[in-house]
Symmetry: D2
Amino acid sequence: MRAAVVGASGYTGLELVRILLRHPGFELAVVTSEQNAGTPLGEYAPGLAGLTDLTFEAVDVASIAKRVDFVFTALPHATAAPVVKGFRAAGLPVVDLSADFRLRELATYESWYAPHPAPELLSTAVYGLPEVYREEVRKAQLVAAPGCYPTSVLLPLLPFLRAGVIAPGPVFVDSKSGTSGAGKKLAANLLFSEAASNCSTYAVGGKHRHLPEMEQEASVAAGADVSMVFTPHLLPTIRGIVTSIYLTPQAGFDQAQAEAILNEAYGDEEFVRVLPQGQTPSLAAVRGSNFCDVAAVVDARTGTLLLLSAIDNLVKGSGGQAVQCANLMLDLPENTGLLEAPLVP
Amino acid sequence: MRAAVVGASGYTGLELVRILLRHPGFELAVVTSEQNAGTPLGEYAPGLAGLTDLTFEAVDVASIAKRVDFVFTALPHATAAPVVKGFRAAGLPVVDLSADFRLRELATYESWYAPHPAPELLSTAVYGLPEVYREEVRKAQLVAAPGCYPTSVLLPLLPFLRAGVIAPGPVFVDSKSGTSGAGKKLAANLLFSEAASNCSTYAVGGKHRHLPEMEQEASVAAGADVSMVFTPHLLPTIRGIVTSIYLTPQAGFDQAQAEAILNEAYGDEEFVRVLPQGQTPSLAAVRGSNFCDVAAVVDARTGTLLLLSAIDNLVKGSGGQAVQCANLMLDLPENTGLLEAPLVP
Amino acid sequence: MRAAVVGASGYTGLELVRILLRHPGFELAVVTSEQNAGTPLGEYAPGLAGLTDLTFEAVDVASIAKRVDFVFTALPHATAAPVVKGFRAAGLPVVDLSADFRLRELATYESWYAPHPAPELLSTAVYGLPEVYREEVRKAQLVAAPGCYPTSVLLPLLPFLRAGVIAPGPVFVDSKSGTSGAGKKLAANLLFSEAASNCSTYAVGGKHRHLPEMEQEASVAAGADVSMVFTPHLLPTIRGIVTSIYLTPQAGFDQAQAEAILNEAYGDEEFVRVLPQGQTPSLAAVRGSNFCDVAAVVDARTGTLLLLSAIDNLVKGSGGQAVQCANLMLDLPENTGLLEAPLVP
Amino acid sequence: MRAAVVGASGYTGLELVRILLRHPGFELAVVTSEQNAGTPLGEYAPGLAGLTDLTFEAVDVASIAKRVDFVFTALPHATAAPVVKGFRAAGLPVVDLSADFRLRELATYESWYAPHPAPELLSTAVYGLPEVYREEVRKAQLVAAPGCYPTSVLLPLLPFLRAGVIAPGPVFVDSKSGTSGAGKKLAANLLFSEAASNCSTYAVGGKHRHLPEMEQEASVAAGADVSMVFTPHLLPTIRGIVTSIYLTPQAGFDQAQAEAILNEAYGDEEFVRVLPQGQTPSLAAVRGSNFCDVAAVVDARTGTLLLLSAIDNLVKGSGGQAVQCANLMLDLPENTGLLEAPLVP
């Protein structure tokens, strides 16, 4: 199965490359980058030297469509959709890692992002969270890989919303992400001299673009509108997201019930690890892996529920989850190419 | 004014030393450490070489009481109280940086810590948050310097509780601290190889010892019992705490009201900076300084209030605040020795 | 091929586990740790949860020898040798990652380390640097995996010594290592609060234990005694070693000759990448991989030669190189289980 | 004494501001930045909010010259010289932190940098290393503050060259710098995601612009041409430079002689600390301070001499040293405003 990574020079694209180079079901055949067309991948990213002879090319949908069987698009929002449309028109299955096909409502997309370049495809896209939409992903030809923050939030949260054990009211979400989540962007706040030894919030007060995607999926799970307060932080790490979610459950809800809900949801899942009581998720335990670690803590004294999670934003939060979806779409074992252990330490 | 730092080999004690060496109102006359008695301070902490000729001595209250006019105690809880008692009996004013005199209720202290070695002093101690208890601190002979997390939580929170604008229900607090908050303790999770590139929670579910201190002061401000959910995190930085507090205010509460409350509380305070709208606190802006930066964000869409703060845990969260209290106790200008600018970058 | 990792709770042992879990030629059957016997591996190292059901056991050579076909020993020096001796007596091939079998001269070992517990095995051991001793490793039953610093030094240096192009005189080596090289040791200088934002030398003046191993191999390559000045540094990173080597080559030696020497030595090597002119090795390009990147820079103005290298100390400097040797001993393709791409970024 | 910092938005300029705000001999009256003219300093650098009411202005030499008594210029090379010329023409003393007045030979400057905009001033400038040129600095009206790397190299090296105890041949210098040394420049290699957990060399092979400055001063000290091999590294820290220098001394040179040379040179210096035998310089011991820690290690076995140093590149390597020079020029105690202790930890 020959694959293309369209938009391979960003951190998301490079992570797809890293995974696909070791994936027994794919031959990575095409990598694109407009700015770096003509540059060997191993020269652009010296870490990959010796592992591939590929050279970046510019996007030419017609040409690429003839040379591959599967496409991953890792382009900026609004840039991705027209390219996805081209590959879909050529009959190729696509996993798109942009925001272009994550939102079901066109109006929501356009209020948060830009005019949608291919709205007719929205209804054909499946939200690529395999633990939630596994069967839909299997049958899909277009999968929208979730954002990194939403993955870290929805996996712990959705089972509780589905179970109907949460009292109404806004969900408070406090997330902390490594700098790679912001991409390879030349912004002053992402300089080492500014981000190291530092931590701060950004996009507070309902301004982060991952919010509508999270509220959409939370509302589906709850069967009712769910609103969220989302506070993202920039952490002085390269990779990883840890998330805390503060909830008020029904009266009498206890630790055993919370663990039962998580275990029922994820007991058979390979990539979601429900931590035993007393353990809490950490970036170190997921670094470089496709795992999402989750834990629930009921505080009987205050009558509250705390949900915790950790992922590597570039793996389970991005490239790894995209490949997990691709495996499903191609009827490969879901974990193919994804069982790498975390770097410890 | 000759000062002693009793327990000067830990990070809190060293920070007191760092500040007092440059303080025009104090002559640092005595530093103690049982384990390092006889070792020159500049040999133990090479960064201080050339700035002082002091040598650690073992604690001998009677001897030290004759040679100093003011005492800072930076000993572990339960170890501090007997020493404080000795210095107080000798008539010396004391700022204690342990937990021993922060809690008003003996039973609360003993349920969280240990049998109290000097309960008779509890009622004489003032909680050393100058922005809240300035007049009491001025008159006190025994001040209990607040914990680092409580400082980062109470400064943004108390004005809103005092104003009576918060709906009943638990306060959700998500805090992130650098490793120096855990002291110079040889624990595996504090090793660079474990803590770097990492972030995780600990002591969740109502287990952190700073919780009773925070609930005590929040309840005083609210005039009613306030319960808190407190989720501390270990950050891969040496210094600094950032805190997010999630609240539900009364209906109709807006951004202007929130800012008015903060400005009224802190408009005249030198060390609490209320950030202009759109700015959020960051560790980088307070590193090495005695500032506490605070901000409030009302999210009208969800009807919620987010409070944010940042401090250097070793300065405003510990040694700096202790010196701020000492300045008040000695009728010195409150900012004496504390106007150092943060390290930028 | 069933394998044991004896001494699996340290960073070297855990890295072997990480690699072997994904290695198609090995089934990891036994992991040992005296201190953690009875603890599941996935509980001790939560990152490995879900990837293995193994539980640490105490070392029992007789019992383990019946259950495995190959042994990796990752124990402290002097502790390793008796265990290695037991496994060798049971007829099992062993790769030892301690210092016990790296030095050919018993007296040298004993002057730097301790009385040798199994000196009779010294002459049977092969120094496990596959790029230098490939054929010997293939035939060996006992391989001494090199130290991490020596790997980073010898790979760039040996080809120049073998070529006889270096003027006599001491070799100046300046190396910088991440903290994982010191192991999971509870030492104050390894705490995050001490090692972060820091960099300093240690064991200067000919005191580092990797020195005799480096001089031994350098002297073999040069065919004459080579002495070294070795200056190790502790870097604020978890993984990785970068090394600079300062040499005075014969008069007239130029850049083309330097590159020819490296290319001749490593042009066909999969795990040693000779960087093109203008590129220099970096930790980021080897993180998590078995690569050693090398470069040579001739400075015609000063008539000097600078050699540079970068490795991940836990992979090519330890567990990865050990597995590379094991692959050779077992006649597997040398790169089996080792082609993982570096984490980028 | 009213001071201007011309070019105050870069890291060097901000550090001058940080120091001058606390300096009892200066009133910081003017800060300039072309790009940020009109922006309050405390808005541009939130860490400085509340400490100053200054607003950036564009450079207008005539206007500024009327409002200040002393000028610090922290502009890029070639941009600085015309501005310095203007202030000198107006009769103001200037400490320039660019490279424009560090090199005595016009041709050397122009071969490394650019056509010199004010060559007539070269002969009037004094190289601002107070420990070497104290009397010249006292009398100077134009001081060229040394580069950060040169400060870290020359302070340990010059005493040995002056003493005539070093054998001829190139001096090998291996330096490691935090990212702030590269300034607030939007370059990919300075992003946190690229520089964190990383370390690599750059500008090797005689290409770094600090080389001519170091060779110039080394040659003056030696009384003969000295050539250097200089290998700078980028460290994953914000602040600090550690340097190793490899030398071959005369036969028989020993540790006592080495220490005597350092003690004679620096025994009376406040800001150069000669470490006792067995201690080595570390960034942690100088962070945020004006100290340069130095040590010498003679390795009798190899007949070599290793010199080590550590500085905070923004203090002793830049802003602090500039203020130290200004103190001398103004006949203030040399340490005025510079006795801040390092941040420990």
